[in-house]
Amino acid sequence: MERALHIRDDETEQLLNDVQVKYGYDFTSYSRASLKRRINRLLLLDKFPSVAEFRHHVLSEEQYINRFVEELTVNVTEMFRDPSFYKTLRNEVLPILATHPFIRIWHAGCSTGEEVYSMAILLHEANLLHKSLLYATDINPGVLETLGKGIFPMSQMKQYSENYIESGGKEDFSSYYTAKYDWAKFDEVFGSKMIISTHNLVSDRSFNEFQLICCRNVLIYFDKPLQDKVLDLFNESLEPLGFLALGSKENLKFAPVGRRFKQFTGKEKIWRKIK
């Protein structure tokens, strides 16, 4: 069997520095273990004969950078992932948001948007979608294009429907999309409430104030200093008493900004800004 290429630590640092200088994408504060795996995976996927040739390609073929960024970041997501999280949103968070005349929610690092659509469905069922705006941002322009179309693989719908039911959904999940061959196109009422834009959590600033920020399974890819910096950004971008939702293994507990937040429920990773 042919041995797969493995990028060395020093080659990784060199590449990340070069990419930052040339393209402005700063991966130097990403957790190395995961990042190296992504690079090795890309070396294999795109069949590069050597790390040197890979580096040359990245730096000389400018249109390749989008693929590079998209493959180095993780774009695995699903609708109603962790159903109990969505159940808490549905039963405990949305009733509080409902008291606002206007609801702004930020999905930071939303990838292809399965969680944004999940949220839109929750808002729709709570009769709040008409007064809501969902800001969907990601570092990758390519995944946002998918999000904008609202078209997802039909093969996933069975799993999503099960997640939806487990999250307390009472409707027929398939009524929210139109099936066409292998694809499910979601009702445009959901997409019409989404504002889609690229945003890099490493380098871009706060752009609005929100009542709820969802950023699930994004911080795990950052080193501790970058995590703290991004949590500061979220703090700045939240209204007083706003909510911050993280992934099931992410925590505010050890971050400096953590003292400004109180965990909303014991079980789910949802915090409320208290000062």
């Binding site: 957790s31 190395r32 795996r37 795990i220 992934g247």
Partner: protein, 192 residues
């Protein structure tokens, strides 16, 4: 001679298992003497339930502290760590844990191959890889990586495994240092 050198420098034992491996883990853990100079990391395929009782079940069986891994936590000797469901478990060069929610590998997340490979990459010859009962071949490639890095490879004796496919596949594809029943694995770890 070289083996003894490797053994004395062990600071991490990574145990991978799938179907039928709980039984083996429940035999290994009670054997382990407390106060050891290495950490144990368990990667077991299981359903992505949020409240996993696995840590509680294992806690009852050993004097070691048993916990599910928290993101960026430092690997501390004398602790049994469990890979959280639905995340791959990786090691950073500063010997802390990283989690990764990327694509499944061998239809699995956590994947044993992913953790074994990362352990080999970071710990090199100071890691012991242990592959237990299971119904797929996840972990075999990773075990080879541990071997290539100079670590020790142990495979549960397929005859003693509840589901023999995984250890048998390892024996078919590589030459482990040791083939042992679960109790034997516990005794081996105590001797390092």
């Amino acid at each position: 001679m070289e083996k003894d050198k490797v053994r004395s420098s062990c600071c991490l034992a990574v145990i991978g298992g799938s179907a039928g491996s709980l039984d083996a883990i429940l035999k290994i853990l009670p054997c382990l003497n407390t106060g050891a100079a290495y950490a144990v990391v368990i990667v077991q395929h299981r359903k992505p339930l949020q409240d996993s009782p696995l840590a509680d079940i294992l806690s009852d069986k050993t004097g070691w502290s048993v916990k599910e891994v928290e993101e960026k936590e430092t690997v501390t000797p004398g602790t049994v760590y469990i890979a959280p469901a639905d995340y791959h478990l990786l090691f950073e060069t500063d010997h802390s844990f990283s989690l990764d929610a990327s694509e499944k590998v061998n239809y699995s997340r956590p994947s044993i191959d992913v953790t074994f490979e990362s352990a080999a990459d970071v710990y090199g010859s100071s890691v012991i890889g242990i592959l237990l009962s299971g119904a797929n071949a996840d972990g075999v490639e990773g075990l080879q990586k541990i071997r290539d890095a100079g670590g020790i490879c142990i495979v549960q004796d397929p005859a003693t495994a509840e589901v023999s496919y995984m250890p048998a596949e390892a024996l078919r594809r590589l030459q482990p240092d040791l083939v042992l029943p679960a109790e034997g694995i516990g005794m081996y770890l105590n001797a390092i």
